[in-house]
Symmetry: C2
Subunit: 310 residues, 2 copies
């Protein structure tokens, strides 16, 4: 078997495992049970920010930096799957080509056609597959669309908020309170006018919201296209991970994430039970009919339904 | 009391009721129980499509048309609340001003900072408040961001998919399979080049996916800015509603919606119970710890959790 085939086979195994998980069912559960003891080993890095700031280029440069350090890196691109997102996240396919022969890089786009909780749960498990295959760093990429940003902040150990100069993004980020999710800020396209201004706006507003002085988010300027600022970013990522471990925040964040995941898993299981029950029980059918006829309100009906399915 | 004050007071009552519902708790449940028998009376119209097609202008023109027919209209703008959405949906504030003194128009933006299921549930209930206040038509507006489009299609009786010429939106919509949610298609900005081409692309692709020949979605061209095509749109909306009623599809769609809402309500209630239980039970805390230590995998832990909370 040539090197080329070896790489392909390995990636195919990982891709197949992630697909198994996305499909759910007992096969997924068996696989997850088997790999779970080997997981929790990677540093999870979330990268988010508005479209157009060059997240794909930034991640591409970061991949190069990580490989130079001899570490394996996985990228999960969380795609909110708007039919109109205009390929904002399709960049991963282009990046993919450059790394086709490198077994140390695995890139996967996770599309979301159903319930938002669903993609988060699938991502948690995809992370575990990559950890089981010894990936050291896992980058979770989202486009900036509300829910995703919050979900990513909950999923990652270190969240990078990428912005660009002159777009007003810095002001919008400050106004919206999204600042609080950033552990590291990067002003990419730093050769555009206004980069220093954007950075100082962010530094100033961080001063204002900073109650916890235990970690001051660094605000970096990069030109990812030319590889400028990437080494500094990688260093900041490492420093944040060290801080998380030494301060006990890593355990705290990850336990918080486990809580959210458990609650979401419980909700997903019960949602499915409710749908199955409605489809298969004449009592439940009557309940739906009563709501339709406005005899019972939905909240009361839901209470009754909970009692029936559990 | 002047007319002006009368209008203001009425709108304030509705706004307060919606806020009560958004806040949840027993006050919300009491209110909903009280109004539920009076609901189910409005025609729910969903309007979705990519940013830039002029949805706000289209809705504004439609409001004028509806008022000309002597009907009351409510607009719920579902905002996925990206800090970077760049005011795409803030148009409602501008429209709001023009209708400030008209009690027959109520516009509300519903922001989403938490779980996506949450905003859908709040929207279902806000619709009910408007119905209780005798609004005949309720327009649900979303920006095109994946989950929203699917949710809106589930919520509305009639879904309008708005596109524009020359943007490639028609091709993307066709490719993505989003076509299936449209009961009516509108090519807005019809004075731009390529409007007829976009319309015929859509008509052609509808021919291909159309198994059910009971309703052929009309494909209209409008220039909302100049009020062109709005009467035709309003007529198509009325015809679709008539079709829904005479074919039995209205009952079918609304029952399907009730099922989804019940399952989502059950999921939301159980999710909250799970979070409360984890925070207050030492057993659950141990469970989280076991997952953190990789002794138990999350899926097994969730199974245990379900048994404890129900």
């Amino acid at each position: 078997m040539s090197l080329n085939e070896g790489v392909k086979n390995n990636k195919r195994t990982i891709a197949k495992a992630i697909t198994t998980i996305e499909n759910g069912g007992s096969e997924a559960l068996t696989l997850l049970k088997q790999i779970y003891p080997k997981t929790g080993t990677a540093h999870l890095i979330g990268i988010t920010g508005p479209p157009g700031v060059g997240k794909s280029t930034l991640i591409d440069a970061l991949i190069g930096q990580i490989r130079k350090n001899g570490l394996k890196v996985g990228v999960l691109a969380i795609d909110p799957s708007s039919p109109f997102s205009g390929g904002a996240i399709l960049g991963d396919r282009i990046r993919m080509q450059a790394h086709t022969l490198d077994n140390g890089v695995f890139i996967r786009s996770m599309a979301n056609r159903g319930h938002f909780g669903g993609i988060a749960l699938a991502a948690y498990d995809a992370i575990r597959v990559l950890e089981a295959f010894d990936y050291d760093i896992i980058i979770i990429e989202t486009v900036g669309v509300g829910q995703s940003e919050l979900a990513i902040a909950q999923m990652a150990d270190t969240t990078i908020l990428a912005l660009m100069p002159g777009s007003g993004d810095d002001i919008q980020a400050i106004k919206s309170g999204i600042m609080e999710i950033g552990d590291i800020f990067v002003i990419n396209k730093g050769d555009l006018p206004g980069a220093n201004k954007a950075a100082s706006n962010i530094i100033h507003s961080l001063d204002l919201i900073q109650e916890k002085a235990d970690w001051t988010p660094p605000v970096l300027i990069s030109i990812a296209q030319e590889g400028i600022g990437i080494e500094e970013l990688w260093q900041a990522i490492g420093e944040h991970f060290k801080f998380l471990k030494s301060s006990g925040k890593l355990e705290q964040r990850r336990k918080h994430r486990i809580k959210s995941e458990l609650a979401e898993l419980v909700a997903a299981k019960v949602r499915q039970s409710a749908l199955d029950f409605i489809d298969n029980s004449s009592n439940a059918n009557e309940l739906v009919n009563d709501v339709w006829l406005h005899k019972t309100d939905p909240h009361l009906a839901a209470e009754k339904l909970i009692k029936s399915i559990v």
